[in-house]
Symmetry: C2
Subunit: 152 residues, 2 copies
Amino acid sequence: MPLPQTEQPGRLQAELMSRGVRMTRQRRTILSVVETAQQHLDASQLLRKARRIDPEIDRVTVYRTLKLLKRHGLVDELDLMHLQGEKHFYERRPQRDHLHMACLRCGKILEFESNLFDRLKGQIQRECQFHILVTRMEIGGYCSQCRATGPA
Amino acid sequence: MPLPQTEQPGRLQAELMSRGVRMTRQRRTILSVVETAQQHLDASQLLRKARRIDPEIDRVTVYRTLKLLKRHGLVDELDLMHLQGEKHFYERRPQRDHLHMACLRCGKILEFESNLFDRLKGQIQRECQFHILVTRMEIGGYCSQCRATGPA
DNA sequence: TTAAGTGCAAATATTTTGCTGTCAC
DNA sequence: GTGACAGCAAAATATTTGCACTTAA
């Protein structure tokens, strides 16, 4: 992911174990792939990378592990404006939330942190009495390079 | 949708025709369903409602019409935090954007307009040089009633 | 030891595509 | 009249489930 990751390897594994989750060889492999990913990956890409480490890993195990991570709030699920169909993408939950911009022309994904975003969440918690557990903000449009070239 | 709709019937149809889009009996039916919907509907619900008006309408035509409306920026597609699986939900694009809160306990969907939200979009356009065409902000958590009752 | 996890196969759900006939303009 | 659209069937894609075997704790 573009934003700097201050992530120690093994952190996900430690986190899950501290919550009493059973640690298997397959899970360790998948967690390491999630942790070291440099972009947003979908289940199939995750499976492919996991199989480079352990060729026996099954696709279903990837789905089940992702569900586990979501349930524990350790990864966030993204749709990236359905730019690539109905795939879901995953990223480690960051310390500070960010939003995603998807360029509808070139497909680039940009991330952005903002005080206004943080304040908006605060406003929602306060004014709507809504207890926020997950946020997903995705924006579709044209990135600076593509808007310069004019509409497609 | 909870927020007040200042929508004239036939507006979608007029909008499309003014853009030179061919108007068929099926499209008119589907547009009227989209316009009069009181909640966010997915493709199957839309089909069911359309068939009450014209039982001959095909599911594929619903999908194609939705794609047409999305392409013209007349409806927005929502995932509602995948609370109901991978369905997509649709709503007429509002004059002012709002965000969606999905209660992970009771499944209620709330909408919220906010100046901070508007300002955040302005900030993105300015600071990221990103030309915004669509926004989708969805928040998962517990609504005021459900948080009062404690976690599930 | 045993409850939880894995792999395999099959099922499910949603959306898209190819093709032929039909209709809006 | 003709190019865009509708309906039908089939395909494609993504994800989930049932069940017997395996393994972490």
